[in-house]
Symmetry: C3
């Protein structure tokens, strides 16, 4: 009888666990878990006291099993009396609107959306069904698809960084575009996504963006991209589908980045990138070349 989930180190006989990362294979033999989800390669290492659940994709299976034991919180329809809702806003009655949330003029909030405490939805913003806006998040000048999730403090739709030098001062360029976010996009805590200047900033469906990421005006991110924490993408750069960008990497502005590109952590991309490229370093170069340079420098130091 399994009644919960836990990591290998702490799982007991009534809990299910998993092994996904070969770094932790040592923990497998010592685990007291009642059942362990593993890849066929490691099935023989599961202790006799555990039931092995064998699958070629243990992490996805773990996700599904966890969701069985810990289903998403139920949406509790209702508007907290402290929320400030403009009378022209349209909020589906199935939504859950938290304390001190603010919804401005003509905003449209789809079915079963959750607005957590203190979040601010600007005028004419549209949210699709089942969106979830974290506490103290701010959304303006934006159209969100279905099932979009903003984590606490994310800021979407503010003016981008646009100005022209003119007579010894900077003249702001009016920012007129929107942020268009597809379905099933996640935006991390305290991440910032600027509205477009003349065209729109676009985030493709299924893309996952981590915390403290900066996305400049007019950026177009493809579908199912993965953008790890603290990445910066400068204005007007276009990124294809399924591209993955490691933590703290930076992409210069006005670039074209292809599909299925892999950009390593802390890389600095300063020119266009073909689909499928695997890059690392600042300035970014093919990952193999980067590591060859590192190795060469080490050898040279030893010689000197």
């Amino acid at each position: 009888m399994i009644d919960g989930v836990a990591p290998l180190q702490t799982a007991g006989p009534n809990e299910v666990s998993f092994l996904d990362n070969s770094r932790y294979v040592d923990l497998l033999g010592r685990s007291s878990a009642g059942a362990i989800i593993v890849h066929p390669d490691y099935a023989s290492l599961v202790p006799a006291t555990s039931q092995a659940i064998i699958t070629t994709d243990p992490y996805a299976s773990w996700a599904r099993v966890c969701a069985l034991f810990h289903p998403s919180a139920h949406v509790e329809a209702g508007i907290h009396p402290s929320a400030v809702i403009d009378p022209t806003a349209h909020i589906d009655p199935s939504c859950q609107i938290g304390p001190n949330a603010v919804v401005d003029k003509n905003a449209v909030i789809g079915r079963r959306c959750v607005l957590e405490a203190g979040c601010v939805i600007g005028p004419s913003v549209t949210l699709g069904d089942d969106c979830h806006i974290g506490a103290n998040g701010v959304v303006s000048h934006a159209i969100l698809g279905a099932r979009v999730r903003l984590f606490p403090g994310a800021k979407v739709g503010q003016d981008g960084f646009g100005f022209a030098p003119a007579k010894g001062a900077y003249l702001s360029v009016p920012q007129l575009g929107k942020v268009i976010i597809g379905d099933d996009v996640h935006v991390g805590a305290n991440t910032t996504i600027d509205r477009g200047s003349a065209r729109d900033t676009v985030i493709g469906s299924g893309t996952r963006i981590d915390n403290l990421v900066q996305i400049g005006h007019n950026v177009v991110l493809g579908q199912q991209c993965v953008v790890v924490a603290q990445v910066g993408i400068a204005g007007s750069t276009t990124v294809g589908d399924f591209t993955q960008i490691g933590g703290q990497a930076a992409l210069a502005g006005h670039l074209d980045i292809g599909d299925k590109v892999q950009i390593g952590a802390q890389s600095g991309v300063i020119s266009n990138v073909d689909s499928g490229a695997v890059l690392l370093g600042s300035p970014a170069q093919p990952r193999r070349e980067f590591f060859r340079q590192i190795a060469l420098l080490k050898r040279m130091i030893q010689r000197h």
Copy 2:
């Protein structure tokens, strides 16, 4: 008859567009815009169906034309009933104070300021005329000039990172200074500017700071600097006027950086910098030297 603005790709016969970046010159000939603002060098490429508006500074002209069609939102004087205003605060009656905004004791808010929803103005903070504080921004221990704009979630005036090791623990050093911000400064979304420790943190007039920037205690930034997203400036560093700092660059503490310095993206500055220098790399060095090193490493790899 022109009735709007749009980028080259989408502008129609009733819209004005512009070309500022030579990367997009291919779009010029194919544009259906009714009028196009261009540099004299590209005037001959404007299609016959468009009226060329020729200027040596197309981006500034574009800014002005956009502002004609899209003037800044009118300030709607009034305090939202949900705002919490301390009775000792002084708010000019021309201000627009949004839902759930908080203004603490003895704060002084100048004429025509806008405080968006959920922002928090601490005790004794002073805002000049025409300031705009974005949603959920926080300002304490600060004096702001006129026309200062904080984008949503910016945090100005919190304690800096100051402590001394003492008997196996860290002892906080009381942070006693303010943040002094000149006129016409912009501070990006979720950017953080710490108050000074014993002296003040100072941001010079006209300086533009992008999103997710960190400015440590006692930093002095000159006038009309440009600080791109995710830059970090460590405590007590002084930066001159008109200096530009690229995205994700870091400046160590206690440095003197001159005027009109250009620091490239992701650079790491660890020593003082003379005015006019152009730097790149981590540690930062003259940009030319940086690129020569990169080229040399590439050649060496090819030989090995």
Copy 3:
């Protein structure tokens, strides 16, 4: 008679100042301070008009003297009428709860805590005594020790970045852990700390975290670590005690970092690190080796 504190440049005869950083030794002889806290090495440079206060640890002494003149603000017990407190939350009557603060179900707030304006404390969160949560901060799924301080906009306890590719989409892995924070921890403005996935994210007592830092799910940070602004620590990495991480450094996921490690600014750590190591560069390497490589490259450029 001393009645205040000030830096060397501005201190007058009635003020005490200090010298801690040898960069500022030039200011010592010119200071008008009535008293100056200095290391014995510099005592002879204190001007005749100043009283030298000699100590081997001037910065800690300065911290103590500042605290005498500027004691922490008194906690003013009371709950602002605009705060939204769930009836099942337990808040000690000695607490100060600011305007528009939100405290959710079953949260427990210890004695003399301060919740600043607009902060949001999620269901079942526990705060020890004397905690201070800055304006617009958000805490969920967390247990905080005593004297924990979150600066404005810090986000603690949101879901981490966990998902598995499955049938052409990303499947979110339920995040089930908490954030456990020890005593005397400081968390900087707009910093983000994700809750654990299956185990907990842990921050050891006495650790100081600066602004805009990202700490991924399951990270374990030891005691009295120092984490400078804009650092990123990826998921499941463990860091020992007294380790110091410079600004903008990145630590990859699933690493073991020892005690008393020093990681330089902008470093990229991609493998395990022994206690006591001193690292710099991306990828990180022993600091000495890093500077030898830099020097070698410079010499080679001069030759070519």
